[in-house]
Structures are given as C-alpha cells and as structure tokens.
C-alpha cells in the first residue's frame, strides 16, 4: 500500500475546500440551509469515527448512538451549569463520551464478531432505556433536556450577571446558530478528517488493519491485539461524543431518541453507503442519508405534481401515484430499497462505484476484483 504524502495533502486540501464551500455548491440541490449543512458536518464526524472502528478494525458496533447521546447530554449540562460558551461543552462532551466508551469497550471487546455486535446492541438499548425512563432527572426523558433562563451558568453569571433572556450558544460572543455554527462544525470536520487520515496511514492504523484481516493470526504472532482494538473503540467513541456535543452546540436540546439503536444503525448505513474503510466514504454516506432524510421527507403530492407537470395529465397522475409511495411519509421505503440494492450490487458503497467509474474512464486494465470492504484501499481513498 503506497503512501503518498503529497496526494494526501491534495486530498485534504480538496476536501477542506469542498466542505467550506458547501453553502455554495449545495444551493442548487436545495440543501444549503444552515441546519442541514450542520447535520452533514456533524454526522460526517460521527461516521468518520465509526469507520475507524468498523472499516479499519473490522468490529461492527451497534452502540455508538449511546456515545452520541452521552456527548449531547454532557454538553447541554455544561451549558446549563457552566457557560454558554461552546468550548467547555465540546471538551466535556467528548471527554465524558470517551470515558463511557472506555468502560463499554473494555467489557464488549472481550468478545468478537457477532457477539461483540450484540453486546454493544444490548448496552445501547440499556443506555437508551435508562435515559428515557429511569434517569429522567438528568435527561428529562422524552421531552429532552433544554436550556432555561434560570439555569445556574456559574461562569457566565460571575462575569455578566444573571441573564434576562434565554441565551444562545456562542463561541466567545459569536452565536453558534446559522452559518457560523456550520463553519465551526466544518472546521472540526476537517480536523477530524485529518486525524483519521493520519491514523489510517500510521503504524497504528496498520495494526488495526491487521486485526481486521485476521485477529487470531495476529494473536498467534505474539501481539496482544486487545489494547489496539480498545484504543480504536475509544477513539471512535470520542468522535461520537464530539458529534453529540456539536449537535447540542448547534441546537441546545438533547432528546433521548438519538440514543436508540436505530440511530446506531443509521451510522452503520452511512458508513456502508459511502464505502467502508475508505476515508471520504463515510462523509459522503452521511451527507447522502441526511439529505434523503430531510429533503425527501419534505416532498408531498403538491411538489411532485409541480415536478412532473411537464407530463400529460393521466401520465402525470400515474407517475405521482407511484413516486408518492417513495417520498414524503414513505421516504424510509426509499432508504430500505437503497440499502438492499447497494449491499447486493455495490457493497463497497459509493466510493466503490466512483472507483469503478474512475477506472473505466482511465481505461486501465486492472483485474476486476470487487473492492469490497477495501481491505487495502487502492489509491488515496
């Protein structure tokens, strides 16, 4: 696997540019409003971290939504108790999620394969149930944890006195909503991407890949693989915590649903959709799923009719009747169909598709082995 530092730099530069310019090139797609852009960045971070555990190390975890939730709740409590400045919230959220990941990872990694997955699933559901009904003084159950005017906010009240309105999250005065919030998340996304890239290229990353290709063999050579796997787990937990904290930064309400196992399932799908083991794949997958979720579910009969108005009337009605099932309230159907199609035909995700297209364009005579799970990612991604 050839390492090409200049190519990596080019990739990083290209990625940074694409991310920072998102409000511009997303506009024609109808995705340029701040909330969606923030979600792209945040779930991109989540997916990158998850990919380190799943794509590089080969452990499928269904529990990462719990870390996302823990990060969010910690961040909101930081807002309530300390200050509305986002720095402590982000740091605390990430740290606490990392500790939680350490605890859960230590127990779960005693098993591997499907047992590991079910263990993480069990932990995730436990955490969700606890957050939902048992720990309601901390999490406020289903309604979600909110900021009120009368929160202690020790640091803020010490500097500026008690607040007269419900304050906004801010970075030293710059409000973290709207586009500024997106740019904050985007910068962190680029940093996260860079760190993931460095991990993948490092000897540590090679060790993780070795765990994935055959852990038993690795153990037989005398290497203790457990600490590496645990480190990968904790790193992905830190990423998840960061994503959760950013969710709270851009929208200071932490609901319990983000801890459900189906939310974990969502990040699995994002990673696989984009391309497991690749660098860009998870971010792409996250963007696509969030786009589908927000834009597709907004289509209704009205918009469909407007779109297909160029067809003659009876044809238009027929087409709308069919597509209506796949958008609006039926958008999950599109999601399900997409996964099935993807896993059957394009298991390497979108990146594999792009790879194949690229290869065909370049007309190189490479053996047509499907790039599944990209055990040794060819090229830069």
């Amino acid at each position: 696997m050839t390492q090409n530092p200049s190519r990596d730099l080019l990739l990083l530069a290209g990625f940074s540019f694409a991310v920072l310019a998102m409000p511009l090139w997303m506009a024609p797609l109808g995705a340029a409003y701040p909330d969606l852009l923030q979600k792209f960045a945040i779930y991109g971070i989540f997916a990158i971290g998850f990919n380190i555990l799943f794509g590089l190390t080969g452990y499928l975890s269904f529990g990462h939504a719990a870390f996302l939730g823990v990060g969010s709740y910690t961040a909101v409590w930081c807002f309530k108790l300390l200050t509305m400045n986002v720095i402590p919230a982000v740091l605390c959220g990430t740290a606490v999620a990392g500790l939680f990941a350490l605890a859960i990872g230590y127990i779960s990694l005693r098993r591997s394969g499907i047992y590991f997955s079910i263990l993480t699933l069990a932990f995730a559901q436990m955490s969700y149930n606890m957050a939902y009904s048992v720990l309601t003084p901390i999490t406020n159950g289903e309604t979600g944890l909110q900021i009120t005017r009368t929160d202690p906010r020790l640091i803020d009240t010490a500097i500026w006195g008690p607040s007269t309105i419900i304050p906004h999250t801010n970075l030293f005065g710059i409000p973290m909503s709207g586009y500024t919030g997106f740019y904050f998340c985007a910068v962190l996304l680029i940093a996260a991407f860079y760190i993931a890239m460095r991990i993948a290229r490092s000897p540590f990353g090679t060790m993780l890949r070795a765990i994935r290709s055959n852990q038993t063999r690795l153990n037989y050579t005398g290497v203790n693989s457990r600490p590496y796997a645990l480190a990968a787990f904790v790193i992905s937990g830190l990423y998840a915590g960061l994503a959760g904290a950013l969710l709270a930064v851009t929208d200071p309400l932490a609901g319990a649903e983000r801890m459900q196992w189906t939310a974990s399932g969502e990040v699995v799908l994002m990673t696989i959709l984009g391309g497991v083991g690749t660098l860009l794949g998870p971010v792409l997958g996250a963007a696509m799923i969030k786009y589908l979720e927000n834009i597709f579910s907004a289509f209704n009969n009205q918009t469909l009719h407007a779109f297909f108005s160029f067809l003659p009337d009876p044809l238009e009605d027929a087409v709308v009747a069919v597509t209506h099932l796949f958008v609006g309230e039926g958008w999950q159907l599109t999601l399900g169909v997409m996964f099935m199609v993807l896993v059957v035909f394009l298991p390497g995700g979108v990146m594999e598709g792009v790879d194949r297209l690229g290869r065909r364009l370049r007309r190189t005579r490479e053996p047509s082995t499907p790039v599944r799970h990209a055990a040794t990612p060819s090229g830069t991604t």
Binding site: G30, P34, T143, F307, E329, L357
Partner: protein, 443 residues
Amino acid sequence: MKDTVRRDVLKGMGAIGAGIAAPAFFIRNAWAADFRNNPGNAKSITLGFNVPQSGPYADEGNDELKAFKLAVKHLNGEGDGGMMKTLKPSSLKGNGILGKKVQYVTGDTQTKADAARASAKRMIEKDGVIMFSGGSSSAVAVATQSLAQEMGVMFMVGLSHSNDTTMKDRRRYGFRHFFNAYMSGQALAPILAQEMGKDRNAYHLTADYTWGWTQEESLKNATEKLGWKTTKAVRTPLGAGDFSQYITPVLNSGADVLILNHYGKDMVNSLRQAVQFGMRDKMVNGKRFEIVVPLYSRLMAQGAGDAVKGILGTANWHWTLQDEATKVFTKSFGQEYGEPPSQAAHTCYVQALLYANAVEKAGTFYPPEVIKTLEGFKFDGMGNGPTEYRAGDHQCLKDVLVMRGAAKPNGRFGLLEVVKVVPRKQVEYDAKMGGGELGPYTV
C-alpha cells in the same frame, strides 16, 4: 479529477431536489426592525405544517394535514369557506392573508423531538415559512415551541395536552388552542365522583413522559379533592406494547378504578388488555371495577374497538356537537375527505384560521404585533363556544367535553358520545399556575 467525479455524482443525485426545491439560499435583510422570513412584497406567503407522518401518531398527523390543507383552501377563498363563515369577530376576507396567497410546505416530526426540530428548522431556513403549526405529541410541542422562540417564527401548537406547554415551558411565540391536562382533570373529576361515588381508590398507569406525568398529577389532584384515594401510580414506558405485567398487579392492590394515562397506541393496547383481563366485570370492595381514559381520540377509539364501551374520558371537541360552527366544519371536511374530522384536525384548522385572522387584524406579519393581537383575543364560532386566548399563558380557555364510549356505536364514526359539555368557568385556573415565563416579544 476524483473531486469532480464525486461532485457530478452528487449533482446527478440531487437533480430531483433541484427541480423542486424552493429558493435555497435565504439572504437575510440587513436593515433593522426586520423579522425572519419577512414576505415583503411577495405575492404569496408560506405556512409550515410539521406533523407526524411516521411513528405511532402517523394517522393523526395525516388527519391534521388534511385539516391544514382545507384551511389553506378556505383562506385562499376556495371551497365553501368552512368556519370562516362562523368565526366572530372575523377580519378574514377570503383572499389569502393580507392579500397574499397562502402556500404551504409539510414536514415529518416522526414524533421525536430531534426530528421535529430539524424539520421545523428546514421549513424556517429553507422554505421561508412565516408560521408553522401541527404536531401530536407534547414532547414535540415543547421542543418546537422553544425553537420558535429561538428563531423568532410563530408556532401554533397542534395537539398537545400536557400542562407544561403553557405552564412550565410556555413561550411568547407559541400558542395553544387545545385544552390541557389540568382542564381535563377539573372537568372529569366531578363526573367521575357523580357516576362512581366519592369513596374510590384509583390506580394510575401513566405513560412515562411529560404528558403522562402532568395528566396523572392533574387528575390525581382533582379526584383527591373530591374524596378519592390514590392507591398507586406506576409509570409505563412509552410504546410498551404488552401491558400485562403492569395490569396484573392492579387487581390485587385494593384499587377499584384503573386510570389509564395513555394516548395513541399505548391507549389502544392497555385498554384492550385491561378489558381482556376481565377488569370490567370485577367487583372490588363491593363496587364495580371501573376504567377511566382521561384523554380520548376518535382515531384511537377506532383502534381500541369494543373495549371503549362505557368508558369515560375527555376531549377537546367532537364532531357530533350541535352548534353551527361544528356542523359547518364537519360538513366541509366531510365533503372534502369523506369522513368526519377528529379533534386533532379541528384544533389545527382552528389554529390556522386564528393566526390568519390575527395577522389580518394586526395589518402586518411582524410577529410581535401579531402576538399582541392574539393575546387576549376573545372569539366564538369555532366549535367550542365563547373562547378566550389568554394573554398570560397563551392558552385557549373554553368548554371541555366529557365523553363516553357509546354502548351501541352509531356506524363507523359514532364510537364516542358526549356526556356533558363542561362550562369554561369550571375548568379555569390562574395564568401564573405552573410557573414558567413567556419571554420577550422580540428575539
């Protein structure tokens, strides 16, 4: 270059979105005294309807959406005008709102606070809505109400029954027409005492979220004041499905009334299972065992089937009321969709009309002015009798209906019958109750 290929893939994928998406890039006006999504001189304005389209309340969300579409139709002067004809005092002219045509966008709350907020944000930031409404869960209502306050766009609450929405979590930019748990408790308790006697022991099974908590508290307080005793109150997880493990302890607990603080899917299952366990036929402490369902909905009654016969509860509105406005609305909705409207549909329709009316009366879309107009607004002719939108907490004070499951259901839609229309005076309370503060007019 790989980046170009990637971008082409994404652009191709987004072709559908490009064709349909509303102007995506909202550029805020730079000058002062402006407000978010100011329509300016535009020929139309957009309303946002954030309803549950998936999840346990999807059917109710569907009904709410139908009502909203009907309201938009009537506001634009089409159709038969519906309750615009009966609203008093009305400033509505039937040519849109302030002459601008009314359009709408829809969103899916999925009955989750996170998803609802994301959907509302999309409608505000991308589609430029001037007001948004809808919803079937109090958790969602509270979450979106605070979002409305943060973003400076008015939110007309859909179906939300928890006290918190206009008490602890009240907001200046949120308005609720639907009644709340306290009003239910005040209306229901005297009827219960009348029918079941004052010497009763109640066992509460409560859905474990804000609505369940406040409903249990309100009914508990109201019944205890009349002499009942509360044996126990148990929290059940939302969406539990099988309630047998919670129902079996009831029989031997010494209680002779089971109060199900459940709604939606929970109510369908818990009520049916309680009836299956033979609770309706029991005699405890020498009295017949009774079941009470404090909040009714026709759609859920359809789900529960035979189990609702004879069970008491409350509702905000029912289509069988005989006043002029109800008849007009039921006829209008029925002609459009072939079935009578549910209370969720009714409240959403009314909220849309009330907002439009307030804007017309204020003469501007500027939220602080519209809010001031709506605060303290007294009206009639919307199906609930004389109603006041109280300024202190943005809650509509009006009559409350006590319902009972019909012993002989009258067709598919006549599953519930009105027992009593409890007058407003009996259910009123002080605006300061529950704490909370509305917040500023300008954000």
